[in-house]
């Protein structure tokens, strides 16, 4: 029986996301014993997680309160820390997975005894080591992206070499709660006069990104749905005062006829399994609903710093708020699309970007279906996704490129390709100079410093926020991950990576060719073979 430890010291979203990996690991290796080490603050979420033999908790809050306060001796923090780690330090593991990829885990993983270390770790020289190219991607490429082109869960499952599927039994549904929830929701559906009423859950919990759904948005939705025979609405609360106030205000507007459900973590899966769609900002309830494959409509602020939604299940919606007054219409449109209904819409032409999660042969992605569009950004998203999937061994996404060619204005596509080509050209020039400089090193080691200068310049091009830069950052990660002891082996490894980079940039060039119809351009080679 293999003993597996998963270190998960990220956000609550990371914690919930890891549930799929845990289930996948158990499905692939039924005899494995899985243990998880995480923050004590996530203890409340653990009752609903399947397949974990034991949880270990680090009381981060107490440890840090002691460390930060000059009143208290650091000794107590160290004692607490030691106590929290004891269950894992003394064990010999078959595999330890650094799931959330934080610095704390990267040091901790190196302190543990294990046959295999998965993900990032910090070696004895203080250098970050990645277990495979997906881990390098996570550290050097994904960490710099504002909008993830490959979902974190997808990348992390690949780091752990476990496929990301949706058919695993991930969440524990408590049978007693399930029975009660089933009965209650049957009654709710019957209240509308039909046992087949569509139940919409409006989650009053704020988002982790600070986004708060305006009460008027919910009020408008409720008004629309109350007039419809097909729908029943429930308000979902998790015990906070502000939610109660919001529910009270909504009830005032709707004659105290609204149904509110106060859910704790253990009851949540039972409730969610009876809801047809949940409308929510980005929080734990939405993340769990997404994992359970409940339809979600995720609401986010268009001004938010990061544009990576929680929703990753096929068919889910994400709406970014530019204009508050359009939000209810956007939500209603999504419901109409989802259920084939004809709920009335106030604003058909919204400025709020609406995305839908779509599944293809490669995984899931988000496609914009409505609202103000930044076409260059959308093109970059789809092409960067396909590019990296191809780099990591997936087949070329020819159908995507065809689709883009057919459905994008030619001048927009030409502008995108020209811009990309110009970035590529300047980067390739630096790459070729670096390769020439490397030849000099093979002749004489005295040329090493000059070569390092060229290499640094090449790596510097990865500091921009462009598709080509992402490729350079992957290269940088591979260079950092070289683990040889002598100069000749290092140089050989760098050379191999430089040629791999060249090949990768060629793939990008080929993608540009696929996107354009011009035969002359398809024959043009940016990179001259040496």
């Amino acid at each position: 029986m293999s003993k597996i430890l998963i270190l998960n010291f990220g956000t609550s979203h990371d914690f919930i996301d890891s549930i799929n990996l845990i289930a996948a690991q158990k499905a692939e290796y039924p005899r494995s014993q899985i243990e998880v080490m995480t923050f004590k603050k996530f203890e409340g979420l653990t009752p609903i997680i399947n397949h974990v033999h034991k949880f270990h908790f680090v009381d981060e809050k107490m440890i840090n309160q002691i460390l930060e306060n000059p009143l208290y001796s650091d000794a107590f923090a160290i004692n607490q820390f030691t106590q929290d780690l004891e269950g894992c330090l003394g064990e010999s593991w078959d595999k330890v997975i650094n799931y959330a990829n934080d610095n704390f885990s990267s040091y901790l993983i190196s302190a543990l005894e294990s046959h295999e270390l998965i993900g990032s770790r910090i070696d004895s020289n203080g250098i970050v080591r990645s277990s495979n190219q997906w881990s390098i991607y996570q550290n050097f490429v994904a960490s710099q992206l504002n909008r993830q082109v490959l979902s974190k869960a997808f990348v992390r499952n690949h780091i752990a070499e476990i496929p990301l599927h949706s058919c695993y039994e991930t969440i524990k549904i408590h049978p007693d709660y399930s029975m009660v929830a089933g009965q209650n929701f049957n009654r709710i559906r019957q209240m509308n006069g039909s046992a087949t009423s569509i139940v919409i859950g409006l989650n009053l919990n704020n988002g982790h990104d600070g986004y708060q759904i305006d009460i008027d948005v919910y009020s408008d939705i409720i008004e629309t749905l109350s007039d419809a025979q097909d729908f029943a609405v429930v308000l979902l609360l998790s015990g906070e005062n502000y939610q109660r106030q919001m529910a009270n205000e909504l009830n005032k507007r709707f004659d105290n006829k609204l149904i509110s459900i106060n859910i704790d973590t253990i009851a949540l899966p039972s409730v969610l399994s009876n809801i047809d769609t949940i409308v929510s900002s980005s929080n734990d309830q939405l993340a769990i609903a997404n994992l359970m494959e409940v339809r979600t409509i995720e609401l986010r602020d268009a001004e938010a710093k990061t544009k990576t939604p929680l929703s990753s299940f096929n068919g889910n919606y994400i709406i970014y708020q530019n204009e508050k007054s359009h939000m209810a219409s956007d939500i209603t449109l999504a419901l109409n699309e989802e259920f084939g209904t004809q709920l009335p819409i106030d604003f058909l032409n919204t400025t709020n970007p609406t995305y839908k999660v779509v599944k293809d042969d490669y995984g899931v992605f988000q496609t914009q279906i409505r609202g103000d569009i930044n076409i260059q950004e959308e093109l970059r998203y789809h092409i960067e996704r396909s590019f990296f999937l191809q780099l990591f061994g997936y087949p070329k996404n020819a159908s995507l490129f065809e689709h883009i060619k057919e459905n994008t204005e030619p001048e927009v596509l030409v502008s995108f390709v020209s811009h990309l080509r110009s970035e590529l050209t300047s980067t390739v020039k630096i790459l070729l100079a670096t390769l020439r400089s490397l030849k000099g090193v093979k002749t004489s080691k005295s040329n090493l410093n000059s070569f390092i200068g060229y290499l640094d310049n090449l790596i510097l091009t990865g500091k921009e926020n462009t598709l080509v830069s992402s490729c350079i950052r992957l290269f940088e990660g591979k260079i950092e991950n070289i683990n040889t002891n002598d100069i000749d082996s290092n140089i050989k490894a760098i050379e191999d990576n430089l040629f791999e980079l060249k090949a990768n940039l060629q793939i990008l060039t080929n993608i540009m060719s696929d996107l354009t119809d011009n035969e002359k351009q398809t024959q043009e080679r940016v990179i001259q073979t040496e």
């Binding site: 010291f9 680090v58 981060e60 809050k61 107490m62 440890i63 840090n64 309160q65 002691i66 460390l67 930060e68 306060n69 000059p70 009143l71 208290y72 001796s73 650091d74 000794a75 107590f76 923090a77 160290i78 004692n79 820390f81 030691t82 106590q83 780690l85 004891e86 330090l89 934080d102 610095n103 704390f104 990267s106 040091y107 901790l108 190196s110 302190a111 910090i122 070696d123 004895s124 020289n125 203080g126």
Partner: protein, 219 residues
């Protein structure tokens, strides 16, 4: 001779309640300690409304504490009171004469401030950010002790706090030098090599602290 209690007596007040008089200081009103205690508790009402944990500096003979407890009981479903009193004789006399029936009240009697901060339970209580209330006459009497308590800073040097480390912590962090925790981290970084499990754990703990501080500053 015990300087703290060079003059020590217990006198009955006008209404029969015991009042300690130590070195000429009356710890309560000699006329009506109960009424004085009630007024004292009323003056603290605003503070007690938002806090159900209270640290009281000075036992006196307990009258003010019982009034505080009554107030807390009326405002909160549960509460906790810890009293700091360095005068052992006073504590013994109090327990012998009256003691608290209320199980939510606890007396800590240490004559050195350092000893208070070696107790993890007391530290956990302080970390809950209790309301701190001075019993004025007790504070005047034991000004040095209570002032030291209020301005206390824990020793940061690992040699100084080694006695507080658990056996397992000592085992893991055996190569701590006589430095602060942060200095130990700096030493590892400047050495450029991580050479033991203990050093990996020190670095991990340092990162845990950094990310916690970052999280707080983002709130």
């Amino acid at each position: 001779m015990d300087e703290r209690n060079s003059q020590y007596e217990l006198q009955p007040s006008r209404n029969g309640l015991t009042v300690p008089i130590i070195n000429g200081v009356y710890l309560h009103s000699i006329y009506n300690p109960a009424k004085e205690a009630e007024a004292f508790a009323n003056s603290q009402e605003k503070n007690l409304k938002y806090k159900n944990k209270v640290l009281i500096l000075g036992l006196g003979f307990g009258y003010h504490i019982e009034e505080i407890a009554k107030k807390l009981n009326s405002m909160h479903s549960n509460y906790e009171i810890i009293i700091l009193e360095p005068n052992k004789r006073l504590v013994e006399d109090f327990i012998a004469a009256r003691d608290f029936e209320d199980k939510n009240i606890k007396i800590i009697c240490k004559d050195k401030v350092k000893q208070l901060f070696e107790n993890l339970e007391f530290i956990e209580f302080l970390m809950s950010k209790p309301c701190i209330i001075k019993h004025d006459t007790s504070f005047i009497l034991e000004k040095e002790f209570f002032s030291q308590f209020l301005s206390y800073q824990a020793p940061q040097n690992t040699i100084q706090y080694k006695s507080l480390l658990s056996e397992r912590s000592k085992e893991l962090f055996d190569n701590f030098g006589a430095f602060t925790f942060k200095q130990n981290v700096q030493n590892i970084l400047s050495h450029g090599k991580i050479e033991s499990q203990g050093q990996y754990l020190i670095m991990a703990l340092s990162e845990l602290n950094k990310s916690y501080k970052k999280g707080i500053s983002n709130e």
